[in-house]
Subunit: 360 residues, 2 copies
């Protein structure tokens, strides 16, 4: 069923208001959440809205957080999210990183006591309009096994890096440190299709193509898939994301990260507070003239776009291209939500007294 972007924003904002978020924070959280649907990362958009509400019901989320800076230097800080929505805590911390970049060239902010912050890319891209390079990392519910392990010890721990350009659209890397994003797996599950070799392992830790394996005690595999194809690199990158997000800040890490789904209880022996993020901002003119930087970025992108391609391929993509094309398409034609998502949102809306209206 198709919804306009405005309608999804109206609905989402009203839901956040109903659970007690202040208006400006409901608007902020809505912007982050719906940006995922716009960019085609459907697994991180309104499909997750009822998940946040369930966390609130379980008292694992604070809709009126008192977000505080608890440690700082001129270029760094640690922010305590007071168990607020990551959708609100994340942009707060990213703004602080950008402020520090304006003052001393770069800013680096680790966050504890937060919750799921939506897509990593939203936060990194906040830096672009300030002529900064933006960096956004977060840890997440344990779903991934390190190379040689049969336990779930890491989340899909994404990395996003956004880099300003001149006439070209910005360069935006936004990737899970697993072979495939969880959202792609969910699509295969719904279609009853197998997963490619290297995406998943079963509960013994052996590679499986059965997407049901994840539910039965299996795990996702780090980028690389297996040892010979470099899964130790994906594992190490996911580990760095975990450490910068949570050990620098004082959040939970590894298998102690509180699960996003409200019906699974967090570990009884937490090693920190909530989950953790890490943000960075570097002013481009803290390194060289901003226009010079941008003109070389345009040249870089232009050269890569003109690359000779493999037979059968369409073109060489620049990180951020697919999401930007999706955004243009969805702003024009609306967002087509899957039936289970529409049902879930309708049910949520009824419970809270917020009607959901499709545009067709």
């Amino acid at each position: 069923m198709i919804f306009s972007v405005e309608e999804l924003k109206r609905f989402t904002k009203e839901v956040f208001l109903k659970i007690g978020c202040p208006e400006s924070e409901a608007i902020q959280a809505t912007e982050v959440l719906v940006s995922a649907d716009l960019r085609g990362v459907d697994s991180h958009g309104v499909a997750r809205l009822s998940g946040y509400i369930l966390l609130n019901e379980k008292n694992r989320l604070n809709s009126k957080p008192n977000i505080k800076t608890v440690h700082k230097t001129q270029s760094t800080a640690v922010v305590d999210g007071d168990l607020g929505l990551g959708l609100v805590v994340g942009p707060h911390a990213m703004r602080l990183a950008i402020k520090k970049a304006k003052e001393v060239g770069s800013g680096w902010v680790a966050v504890k006591n937060s919750n799921h912050y939506g897509i990593a890319g939203y936060h990194a891209m906040m830096a672009l309009e300030e002529d900064c390079i933006g960096i956004s990392l977060t840890n997440a519910s344990p779903l991934v096994s390190p190379t040689f392990s049969r336990e779930r010890l890491l989340g899909t721990n994404p990395i996003s890096i956004a880099i300003p350009t001149g006439s070209q659209p910005p360069f935006v890397l936004d990737m899970a440190t697993t072979t495939a994003a969880n959202g792609k797996l969910e699509v295969l599950q719904r279609k009853g299709q197998d997963a490619p070799y290297g995406w998943l392992q079963d509960k013994e830790g052996n590679i499986t193509t059965d997407t049901g394996g994840l539910m039965n005690g299996g795990a996702m595999r780090p980028l690389g898939g297996d040892r010979v194809h470099g899964s130790h690199k994906g594992y190490a990158l996911g580990a760095v994301v975990d450490i910068l997000s949570a050990i620098l800040s004082g959040a939970n890490y590894g298998p102690w990260v509180p699960p996003f789904v409200g019906f699974i209880d967090p570990a009884p022996d937490p090693v920190g507070e909530g989950l953790g993020h890490f943000f960075g901002a570097m002013r481009i003119d803290a390194f060289r003239d901003g226009d010079e930087f941008k003109s070389h970025m345009d040249n870089w992108i232009g050269r890569f776009r003109q690359s000779e391609i493999v037979e059968g391929a369409e073109k060489v993509l620049i990180p951020g291209d697919p999401e930007r094309e999706m955004t243009e398409e969805r702003l024009k034609n609306g967002i087509d939500l899957l039936d289970p998502v529409v049902d879930d949102l309708t049910k949520l809306g009824r419970k809270l007294g917020v009607p959901l209206r499709s545009i067709l």
Copy 2:
């Protein structure tokens, strides 16, 4: 043939002195180069020594560089390496990053006009003794094709991140952003063995297992191997390394990076100066109490080491484990160099009047 670490250091230092390096720089360059042999990254150690000397003969290397900071803020800087050895320019820039971290919490230094800097890990690990997290990136000779491309547009562009610990050995990620490091490929070539699927492509851009393919116009593939296994992620990471190392600093990027091998001329239309690096240092106590941080790092590492393993595997490794074990072994038993490397060094030594002595 087996050599003691001391003998390789003596030989290497004398060679650098012969081409005119000041004594302190010859010592520094030697430390970086031989650290690769000690850590088992044989492709980046003394096996490359004659390559540096050839660059010097071709006037593409300056043995007495005047290394200067050409742009700075409180937390950032750009360093002009004056075409010096990356083995000298790199540590200079990393020391500057650490100095800034001491002053304002973090320091970020981009470098232009440099040369190959040895293993990325050496520079990142310099931060450890200062209780800083160290980050080291560099671009490199174009050998890698972006996803869907048949051209070599990126280097193996490594990422190293070193993180301090308490009683556990430090966490040290040091990885190429390709499926496999070039060194592993060279081993297979020497043995006449095939490369695993996903490491290489031929000149048409199709995946090949023929290690000779690289010589015949083929290319290495980004981490992930192919699109379905996430090669667009490896490509995007390699791209970020290129941009931070070279577009922030004003060095050459992408296909314009000057090749390490002296017998291939650099591109006739450079877009910057020399090749580029990027270094970062963050003081751990710029975020939280240093002892607290270290005790949680120990806990993280301990938990991952105790992980249940897949049948047939030995243990879950922590990034840095294999290189540290290799270092212990080689400090004790010496370094076994392959015959072609010994021949190459002997020839180099004869030319420069520096004898090479094995310990057996």
